[in-house]
Amino acid sequence: MTMPEGDIVQFDNVGLRYGAGKEVLSDISFTLYPGSFYFLTGASGAGKTSLLKLLYLAQRPSRGAIRMFGTDVITLPRARLPAFRRRLGVVFQDFRLVQHLSAFDNVALPLRVSGVRESEITRPVAEMLEWVGLADRADARPATLSGGEQQRVAIARAVIARPDMLVADEPTGNVDPELALKLLRLFEALNRLGTTVVVATHDLHLLKNVPESLIMRLDKGRLSDPTGALRYPPRRPFSRIEEEEAL
């Protein structure tokens, strides 16, 4: 990962409105640095998912500039976007599993899209399913899985290709606290391997479990910066949950 500017994502005065509605995101400016771990918090409807959609290239902003991996992705020709998307791992808030594919094939999907050889797919996918505790459900269709199980398939799919950046929207919303922590460990492990992690959540309990994490907070479509995450170098790592709870 060699970033000329040393950043992986840069938002400059970004605004987003859906159709003719009012702006759901306003004046969003921030920089994400490679290898960092970010939490994105905010009340329901504050715009977390909307911001992540911009991050995983599912949505164009109404105004402002977005650079990813050192490239302006707003003016980038459509044909070059898939290459950027393949560098991302995404856990969608609504999972978005392919309904007629087994858990195994859903997890294998990013590898297959990237053209990884079939012989190099079976083992990592099996291991990943093992890791999220679904080894025995590898052949199950999403519809026959519980909400939490589907969420774990979605997470396995997001991390299987070792993305440069992981974007996860409420990735622990459907699992018990114990499993939530286990999944968080997976994100941390990935983070230690160099992946930038962005996790949207309103589960404050999660935040204190990743001491090095930085917090971005959305409030009615505007970004605030309780831990100085958006400055560089970061003011200091978020380490005490009291501070977040005081917000």
Partner: protein
Amino acid sequence: MSWLRMERRAQLVPQARMAGPVPWVIAIMVALTTIAAAGGLALGNLAQAARAELSGGLTVQIVEADPAERERQAELAVSLLANVAGVEKAQRVADSELRALVEPWLGEDMGAAGDMVPVPALIDVRLSGPVTQAKLRNIRSLLKAQAPAAQVDAQSSWLAPVFSAISSLKWLAAGLVILLGATSAAAVWLAARSALGTNRATIEIVHLLGGSDGQIARIFQRSVGIDALLGGVAGALLGAGAVLLLGQQFAALGSGMVAGGGLGWADWLAIAGIPFAGVLIAMFTARLTVLAALRKML
């Protein structure tokens, strides 16, 4: 390559072979197109064969009740015609052939009836070039004096309405083939769109995971292509069966003229191309439909 393998291992688009509308629509369209095309080609061959045979031909009839006089004038006419410039051949149609021709109308036993019912003497004349009005007039005036019972007709002139009917039918068949092709394309387009609708979520997911437009279009193209191939082959067999059956029935008529309307190997080759054209149309429309839908996503 790995994408193809991916499709084999894990059907991204659930494939219900021969279950959707695509194969059946294609089968019917290909069958109809095959029949229309075969009809058009056969009519074309028929017209060409008949025209080639008749275009340089004249028929001279000696309509004379008295057999001796008829014989005399016929002989005279043949020898006169033989000396006209541009006449390649002037030949009496043998009595036996003539009898065979009129037999269906006059009954088999021509012994006595042959004398009682006067059958005109026929002379088949073949010119080196096509029959023009001028040549016709020329020959008529030549025969008038010596063989007053002679009636001269261009063979193509009495067939002209038949030719124009055949030619209209040929164009009608060509029009049908074009219309059926357009309808097939439209039906396949609709089917591809509905397939796209039911698989929209999958397409969106693969798109968001970094699947390129080409990759996604290829999956649909293949899936629709396989369906179309199954339908196309079924339709072609059906159509070819119908054409062969019709051909046999026409052959049973035993008429020389209809026999000229058979299908050559080149025609069969063209007909064999129809299902493949159908498959190509299907894959092409599927591709365009998917690409158009994808272009609406970022």
